[in-house]
């Protein structure tokens, strides 16, 4: 449980961080909260020769609203998400899901950017990002570019980040009065990754579902956008029967791996159950319930 030898850098600006990453290439790993990377290093599953710690880069922290978008710095911690009044009003799914991430100690250090960029299918924010329709500002040697969350998650530890790029900021469109959200996460105990999880955000126009996004956690190589389930509900008056059909569609889109949390059959069913729970909750909220 002792990591291999590595050099440690703690730049104070994004420019320095990008330059260091360019210099060391794939021998380097970027360190955010460290609660995924450091255990992997202690187990020597990861043995980077260089660590580039982003914790001293102030411009990467903070939550603000500009140009009609909520902007979350990549190094904002889970507890800062939970404490944010702005997020509670404008993107309530994010702090709600953040409360279910790991445990209080991890939430003190763990960051939203690290959770997204690590590419672990067990992390909660990827599915949440799919549900809220987020986009990501990626900074690299060639400047910045913005990409949608939908399509960013490509596989286990594999995202749309190109070599030399660092996730800088998360952009989230604010919710409206008729938007409802829900995050359902089944876990063995506090601090565990999801056996299965589902994030839902939907908007009603009258009784009709105007828009809907469903993201699934830890039931495939990466977070899954359950588009076939969304298609069942979009443009419809959502009924319990439709929720059950949508959950079936979501289950069909999963590809979980067996581990000690469960086998493929159990995880597939739990993806369905979490989907149903998140949908019911989102619908009730969109209709003005709690």
């Amino acid at each position: 449980m002792i990591p291999g030898v590595f050099d440690y850098h703690a730049p104070t600006t994004m420019a320095d961080a990008i330059a260091l990453l360019a210099q060391y290439g794939d021998e380097a790993k970027v360190l955010a909260g460290g609660h995924s990377l450091l255990p992997m290093m202690k187990l020597r599953f990861a043995e980077p020769a260089y660590l580039i710690d982003l914790n001293k880069i102030n411009e990467l922290r903070g939550i603000s609203e500009a140009n009609g978008m909520v902007r979350i710095g990549a190094m904002t911690t889970e507890n800062q998400l939970i404490a944010s009044d702005l997020l509670a009003q404008k993107c309530p799914l994010i702090p709600e899901a953040a409360r279910l991430v790991a445990d209080p100690q991890v939430r003190n250090r763990g960051t939203i950017g690290g959770d997204i960029a690590h590419g672990d299918p067990g992390n909660d924010h990827p599915a949440v990002m799919l549900a809220v329709g987020a986009s990501f500002v990626l900074a690299g040697p060639a400047g910045e570019r913005t990409v949608a969350a939908d399509g960013f998650f490509l596989g286990t530890y594999w995202t749309g980040l190109e070599e030399g790029e660092i996730l800088k900021e998360i952009l989230v469109p604010p919710v409206t009065a008729s938007t409802g959200h829900g995050y359902a996460k089944l876990k063995r105990k506090t601090g565990d990754y999801a056996t299965a999880g589902a994030a839902v955000q939907l908007t009603l126009n009258g009784d009709v579902c105007d828009s809907i996004n469903i993201g699934l956690t830890n039931v495939g190589a990466c977070a899954i956008k359950a588009t076939e389930a969304e298609d069942v509900l979009r443009g419809q008056v959502i009924t319990e029967a439709l929720i059950l059909t949508a959950a079936e569609k979501a289950m069909a889109m999963t590809d979980p791996a067996e581990d000690l949390r469960g086998d493929v059959e159990y995880k597939t069913h739990m993806a369905g159950e979490m989907c149903r729970r998140a949908l019911r909750q989102a619908l009730a909220r969109a209709k003005g319930g709690a």
Partner: protein, 799 residues
């Protein structure tokens, strides 16, 4: 005669019965404990193991060169280096032997292959990666049910031809022992003649005690003096010293074992591990202190698992529910070396307590131990030796029988309890139960929870497809090993000891052969002495764990501290009080026979104004004693208990299971314990809470699963289940008091009851939940996934 004034004096002593705060807590709360990893000696080096990635493989070569070339590395030790000292193998407490470092082959994943000794633990960890070991993989044997097949891979080539490996005749190279007890023929007849017979296969899964502090040591050999000091997180430091002497040839007087503060043991810290032996050798060879501390993965993977008992229980009964016979067959998976920790003559521990709290006229139990390519062990995890397994099988079988008879499990228990007037009770498998009142305990619990109301609620819920279960457990433990006529470890009888010294000013220092690991000995022993000697527990200092100062004792496990060490403490204190009586008589110039004891003083019968307090007497003991009497006020007692003690309890658990996810919620858990005389009720409650938490962990989540290649899955705290405060149920506690008739203060021991009783109680509740819908027995751990499988098979999860 008790007066308000004497009650007040009694309260001030904070003795037996007082929920005083623990004397050890201020240092722990302030982070001032001193654990083995806190010990730093000048020039100390660090050891780290190279471990096998394979469960079964031949070692073709070991190349140390690259590791030795790393700056800061002092040595790389392999079995070949230990051979000249004959220390590459060591004896186990079970009469088998265990490879200290793998000798030609490895027999389980993570087995110790080489140890690197380096300047610090970081260099040592780097160097372990540089040791090149070439393996030739062999077919692994993982399933114990296949161990004795004719073509099974032979695990222990070193012992393949041996007629026995310490526990009797063998029939196969992978066979360790077969042990049986009871009258087989008579039991068979009881089954043949029974109205009703039930049989159930069940598993006590392989688990690990996983104390918060892992195992470790600092070995320091002084070449000039020829003295070895070993700091060790051990539940049995004196036994370790004896074993070290046997292995090394260093006289016992020149070996000092010190167990400092211990961060939990739970059976994990009774045995001798390869890390200790190699650290000692390294210190002798290099002339410098060597520290070795396990990390969490090493702890869960190598040092002393518990259970892994594959059992078939059978009960024979009349149709109105009177039990006529019990039969149990066990296949015990001991892993690659028989390194369980039991008293020497007990290969299956005290498993024969499996007739439980019931008056079962005839019984037969058979346990067959086998080798597999898994880590060695088989220790008692927060229980007396194999008592958890025994209680599990009988308590589950009672429920299985009740189900078959369509009788309420509480009624079936009531019908078969050993009655209070039957004590001392001789069980069919040879135990003499000291005392108990089982019907009163169960009645009290049933009334407290409105048992009939719960059953009514369950039926209503069932009609709605909701899954609620009620579990009972009315257990009897056997603890306090034990009488030396039947219990020894390596030939040393299982007595324990206390040495008490009263200072001139009336403060006390006392040392015991036991060792606290969280039980609160420094408080409870002080309370015992306070009551016996009439001196405040606040001024009584308890020390344990240093073999150079404490009297020899067998240590703390199997709930033996209060039954054996506590009894020694009482007896030693009473010797002091007898001497004090003589001094008091001398001081008051009266006859000893005219004196009576009154809380903290001897007073003259009939003239209560004439007295001498223990403080007066302590002072006099150092300047004014009767002619011919030695000065001083101290005593020693080595207590060999006449019998074991038999704590018991009645537990009830209510569970609700989510029919769509399988998640389990323990809605109520009512635990009534009877541990005889209660020394510190607050500490008892803490013990019961801790044991119930561990029972909840085992019943609902803990397991050490292996894949077909013998790879251990789930050896970190990510997977190995420990409930946090969020998952932990609320425990409701209750008690009755049935003193032990043979213990000098009637105490029986309590710390393990909640673990032993809690596991079957929760498992009975879960099985009750499913059996009402027609399912058959489901094995532990009752995690959400496993529960859901049962639910899904029953079709209860339909939307």
């Amino acid at each position: 005669m008790t007066t308000a004034e004497s009650l007040d004096r009694q309260d001030k002593l904070q003795g037996v019965g007082c929920s005083r705060k623990r004397k050890e807590d201020p240092r722990f709360i302030q982070g001032k404990g001193n654990y083995v990893d806190d010990i730093k000696l000048p020039g100390m080096l660090y050891g780290d193991f190279v471990r096998s990635p394979y469960a079964h493989a031949r070692i073709k070569s070991i190349n140390k060169e690259a590791a030795l070339a790393l700056p800061g590395v002092h040595a790389v030790l392999t079995a070949d280096d230990l051979k000249p000292l004959n220390l590459h193998w060591m004896p186990t407490l079970a009469g088998d032997k265990q490879a200290v470092l793998a000798d030609e082959k490895v027999c389980f994943q993570y087995q110790e292959v080489a140890m690197v000794i380096a300047d610090d633990r970081y260099i040592a960890a780097d160097a372990t990666e540089l040791v090149e070991v070439e393996y030739e993989e062999l077919p692994p044997l993982v399933d114990p049910h296949k161990a004795l097949l004719p073509d099974a891979p032979i695990i222990r080539e070193d012992a393949a031809g041996a007629d026995e490996v310490g526990q009797g005749q063998r029939t196969h190279p992978n066979h360790i022992f077969t042990w049986d007890v009871g009258d087989e023929a008579m039991t068979d007849r009881a089954f043949e003649n029974a109205d009703v017979v039930v049989s159930q296969e069940m598993l006590n899964q392989r688990v690990h005690p996983s104390p918060l502090e892992t195992c470790g040591c600092v070995a320091s050999f002084d070449k000039v003096r020829g003295e070895l000091t070993l700091y060790l997180t051990s539940q049995a430091p004196h036994v370790v010293r004896t074993v070290v002497t046997m292995l090394s040839g260093i006289p016992e007087s020149k070996v000092r074992v010190v167990s400092p503060d211990i961060g939990g043991g739970f059976g994990n810290k009774v045995g001798i591990y390869p890390g200790y032996v190699v650290s000692i050798v390294a210190s002798i060879v290099l002339g410098r202190p060597v520290k070795w501390i396990e990390d969490r993965i090493e702890n869960l993977s190598t040092t002393a698992f518990a259970r892994d008992y594959h059992m078939i229980g059978e009960l024979a009964a009349t149709k109105d529910g009177k039990i006529k016979g019990l039969r149990v067959n066990v296949l015990a998976d001991h892993g690659a070396f028989n390194a369980h920790a039991q008293p020497t003559k007990w290969p299956a521990g005290f498993f024969s307590i499996c007739t439980g709290s019931y008056d079962i006229p005839t019984a037969y139990a058979k346990v067959k131990g086998v080798y597999t390519n898994k880590a060695p062990g088989g220790v008692a995890y927060r229980c007396s030796f194999r008592v958890t397994e025994a209680v599990y099988v009988v308590e589950r079988m009672i429920d299985v029988l009740a189900h078959k008879l369509e009788m309420d499990p509480a009624e079936l228990r009531m019908k078969n309890f050993i009655q209070p007037e039957q004590f001392p009770y001789h069980s069919a498998l040879g135990w003499e139960y000291d005392s108990g009142d089982y019907p009163t305990a169960l009645k009290k619990v049933m009334e407290a929870v409105d048992y009939a109301g719960l059953r009514k609620e369950q039926a209503e819920k069932k009609a709605r497809g909701e899954i609620m279960g009620i579990g009972l457990c009315t257990f009897t433990e056997v603890v306090g090993a034990g009488p030396s006529k039947s219990c020894d470890i390596l030939g040393v009888g299982m007595f324990d000891s206390a040495e008490i010294r009263v200072h001139p000013t009336g403060s006390v220092i006392a040392r015991m052969g036991t060792i606290t690991q969280g039980q609160g000995h420094q408080t409870t022993y002080a309370q015992i002495i306070a009551t016996e000697l009439g001196l405040s527990s606040e001024d009584i200092q308890i020390e344990e764990g240093d073999t150079s100062t404490a009297p020899y004792g067998l240590g703390t496990y199997g709930s033996r501290s209060t039954p054996v060490g506590g009894a020694a403490t009482v007896m030693a204190a009473r010797k002091i009080r007898e001497k004090a009586r003589k001094i008091a008589a001398h001081l008051m110039e009266v006859s000893e026979n005219d004196l009576e004891w009154d809380v903290d003083r001897f007073r003259v019968a009939g003239n209560h104004e004439q007295f001498k307090t223990m403080k007066d007497i302590a002072w006099a003991a150092y300047n004014n004693v009767p002619e011919g009497m030695e000065m001083g006020l101290e005593s020693v007692d080595y207590y060999d208990p006449p019998n074991f003690t038999y704590p018991f309890g009645a537990y009830l658990c209510v569970v609700d299971i989510d029919r769509f996810t399988g998640e389990l919620k323990v809605r109520r858990f009512y635990a009534l314990d009877d541990c005889g005389t209660r020394i510190n009720p607050m500490i008892i409650e803490g013990q019961v809470h801790g044991g119930l938490n561990e029972a909840f962990a085992v019943a609902t989540g803990q397991e050490l699963p292996y894949d077909e290649q013998g790879n251990l899955l789930g050896n970190t705290f990510m997977d190995y289940f420990w409930p946090t405060m969020v998952e932990t149920p609320v425990w409701e506690l209750d008690y009755t008091v049935t003193p032990s008739p043979h213990h000098p203060m009637g105490a029986k021991g309590v710390a393990e009851s909640p673990h032993v009783g809690g596991i079957p109680c929760i498992s009975n509740a879960v099985n009750d939940a499913f059996m009402q819908f027609g399912a058959s027995h489901v094995n532990m751990p009752h995690n959400a996934w496993r529960n859901w499988k049962a639910i899904h098979e029953l079709g209860l999860d339909k939307q």
